[in-house]
């Protein structure tokens, strides 16, 4: 696996973003979920085709200025300014889970900024009859969290996740603190019910959209794939039958093929 570069980007006075960057070619932004940013095989493989920018969510990864980004609109504007600082006028964006909620909002609020949009098990909508699970209640019980993330708990992807905790005590503390902070900073924008009004703005999206979901997603049920599809006419939906909330880990090849196929085939303008 290639090692991405950790780039510090000054977004404005008092705000510094941390972004992992790897690869050459057309730019592609990846927004991670509430579990925090890990440079995984999916990102690595994407970086063989694109110049991948994976920002750490503000407040994580050593970024500075989270108190300046207080609410949802601050976050949206922060991302546009980060795109400006990176020279990304209009860009392709992939968002996973919480990152999908942000990506969909960026494409809704200012449709000019997002050309192609990939939503992987994205948060942001709410169905009373099929509530999104409260992932934040699972942090104190890693086993329960684990069971909700993967379809096959014995798969190599699931096992890699389960065994990610370092053995040495200090490293373990760092690991748990980082995980807690990632969740805390995402919770700041998702707390309670992770529907912050996207459904009232999503009609503005002009980006070509591809929706990728794990059939067995136990956190954000697959019903939400169809709900996004309903709200984004013309979007493409791909359901990964053997996946839970991390299809890009559980069915890497298929998700990669879908992502690349979509991004490469998508027309330049709609």
């Amino acid at each position: 696996m290639s090692t991405p570069k950790l780039k510090t980007v000054k977004v404005r006075d008092c705000i510094e973003a941390k972004v992992l960057v790897a690869g050459e070619g057309k730019p592609l932004v990846y927004l991670h979920g509430a579990g925090g940013l890990q440079w995984d095989d999916y990102l690595d493989r994407l970086s063989q085709h694109y110049k991948v920018y994976a920002p750490y969510h503000i407040g994580t990864g050593g970024s500075v200025g989270k108190d300046e980004v207080r609410d949802w609109w601050d976050l949206v504007l922060y991302y546009y300014e980060l795109f400006d600082a990176l020279g990304l006028e209009t860009v392709d964006v992939i968002g996973h889970s919480f990152g999908g909620m942000v990506a969909a909002e960026l494409a809704s609020t200012n449709p000019n900024r997002v050309r192609n949009l990939v939503l992987v098990c994205a948060a942001g909508l709410w169905l009373d009859e099929t509530p999104v699970k409260d992932v934040f209640t699972m942090l104190n019980t890693p086993d329960v969290l684990f069971q909700h993330l993967f379809a096959d708990l014995n798969s190599p992807a699931a096992q890699a996740f389960a065994n990610a905790m370092p053995e040495e005590h200090e490293a373990q503390v760092d690991f748990i603190v980082a995980q807690n902070t990632a969740a805390a900073e995402a919770a700041k924008f998702m707390w309670g019910i992770p529907d912050k009004g996207l459904s009232r703005r999503i009609h503005r999206v002009t980006a070509n959209t591809c929706i990728i979901w794990g059939e067995k997603d136990a956190l954000i049920p697959v019903d939400y794939a169809y709900e996004f599809h309903k709200k984004l006419p013309g979007s493409k939906v791909t359901i990964m039958e053997k996946s839970g909330h991390y299809p890009q880990a559980e069915e890497l090849e298929a998700v990669l093929a879908t992502t690349l196929g979509f991004l490469q085939a998508a027309p330049v303008t709609k």
Binding site: R70, V173, V177, A184, E185
Partner: protein, 412 residues
């Protein structure tokens, strides 16, 4: 030395198989388990218990705030405080301590300034105002406050309430969370400019110590794990005060302790053990789902908690689990026994922690009303008189209302 009676008001009749059938006493407990007829009886018993404490001359009675649980039946502490206010007014010297309005839960927080001012007026200036942040269960889960906003909201609400009590003209308040064109707390507090302020908490963090010191408030360490578990927190508190160049006045802190008193040590075990066990095992049966939302504590506190065996309340729960009655007494989780032995244990705890405000929990879990009354009576009649003089005239009583020994308002 000041002694305060506090009643957690636990629901005392959870089913035998509660812990097997239900994951949590907080948040997810179905209220079908709540029997309103029993509730009616319990509320009135609990208020009777408070009234007995007032009659016995306790220095104070304290109420607190918890939501969506069967562990403390006071979602609104101010309602219980109001039910006690008149009796407090008529008592010789008892103060009324609202150990908690969790400030971030009130919208607008002006409501807290108003209600506490009303209580202060009714009692003729006998109120102590407590402002806890509140547990994660109460604030983030039961009341849905965003954990990232909880502390900023708390501090802002504090500033608003204090300003509302101090200002004598209508003012505007342009906060991050509260924007008010007109703030005007009519019925301002009886005490001028406001009641003494206590900050109850369970985290014992240096940030809190510093903030309390800066404002000259009293810090109350509220934990159910007793004086031994509290020792390192109090050591930290006093060490920090020294570093800040402040005095060692014990009235700068309060401390909560579970107490069980009977005729003899053996009888105390016989009478109280099952109820203390009910408290720890049932009233405090909190699912790990809800113990702490991410963001409830700062990153720094989370790290410190992981590095210390005694860092968090859940550490307390782990240390206590499986202990026998004798071990719980020995390790200070409960102070129990005959009045003589309770006097000894209390004296030791007070000296060890260097504490001036002692908050006595005397009604635990499933205790029947009569036993609670007995415990309160023994505390008031046979224990407090022997420990009241611990600090003598060595220190000035602080963070306490100036109570005239005759009632502020004479009865017609």
């Amino acid at each position: 030395m000041k002694f305060v009676f506090m009643n957690l008001m636990s629901y005392r009749d959870l089913p035998e198989d509660f812990t097997e059938k239900h994951k949590s006493v907080y948040i997810s407990i179905p209220n079908s388990l709540y029997d309103p007829e029993k509730g009616h009886e319990m509320y009135n018993d609990f208020i009777d218990q408070y009234e007995l404490a007032i009659d016995l001359g306790f220095d104070g009675v304290g109420v607190n705030e918890h939501h969506a649980n069967a562990y403390g039946m006071m979602p609104s502490p101010n309602i219980i405080a109001a039910a006690l206010a008149r009796k407090v007014r008529e008592s010789e010297k008892t103060a009324l301590i609202v150990l908690g309005n969790s400030l971030a839960l009130y919208n607008p927080p002006i409501r807290v300034a108003e209600e506490l001012a009303m209580l202060d007026n009714i009692t003729g200036g006998r109120l102590i105002a407590g402002f806890p942040v509140g547990t994660s269960m109460d604030t983030n889960y039961a009341y849905g406050v965003n954990p990232a906003e909880l502390r900023p909201r708390y501090y802002e609400a504090h500033d608003l309430v204090m300003k509302a009590w101090k200002e004598r003209e209508v003012f505007h308040f342009n906060g991050k969370f509260n924007q008010h064109r007109y703030v005007n707390v009519w019925t301002r507090p009886y005490q001028d400019p406001h009641p003494p302020v206590w900050i109850p908490g369970g985290a014992a963090s240096q940030e809190t110590f510093d903030w309390v010191a800066e404002n000259d408030y009293q810090y109350s360490y509220l934990s159910f794990y007793g004086h031994e578990f509290a020792k390192d927190k109090f050591d930290k508190f006093w060490k920090r005060r020294k570093e800040l160049g402040l005095d060692m006045n014990p009235y700068k802190v309060g401390f909560v302790q579970m107490i069980c008193i009977s005729e003899t040590d053996e009888k105390a075990k016989e009478e109280y053990e099952e109820h203390v066990n009910y408290f720890f095992n049932k009233s405090f049966h909190v699912s790990p789902e809800f113990t702490e939302a991410p963001g409830y504590r700062t990153e720094k506190s989370v790290r410190a908690g992981l590095q210390s065996q005694y860092g968090t309340e859940s550490a307390g729960a782990k240390l206590r689990a499986g202990l026998s009655w004798e071990q719980m007494v020995e390790k200070g989780y409960v102070i129990a026994g005959s009045p003589e032995s309770v006097v000894k244990q209390i004296r030791k705890a007070i000296k060890k922690l260097h504490v001036g405000h002692f908050i006595a929990l005397l009604n635990h879990g499933s205790m029947p009303h009569e036993l609670a009354l007995k415990n309160i009576r023994l505390m008031g009649e046979e224990v407090i008189p022997h420990v009241r003089d611990i600090w003598g005239d060595e220190y000035e009583v602080q963070n306490w209302p100036k109570i005239e020994q005759t009632p502020a308002v004479q009865k017609a």
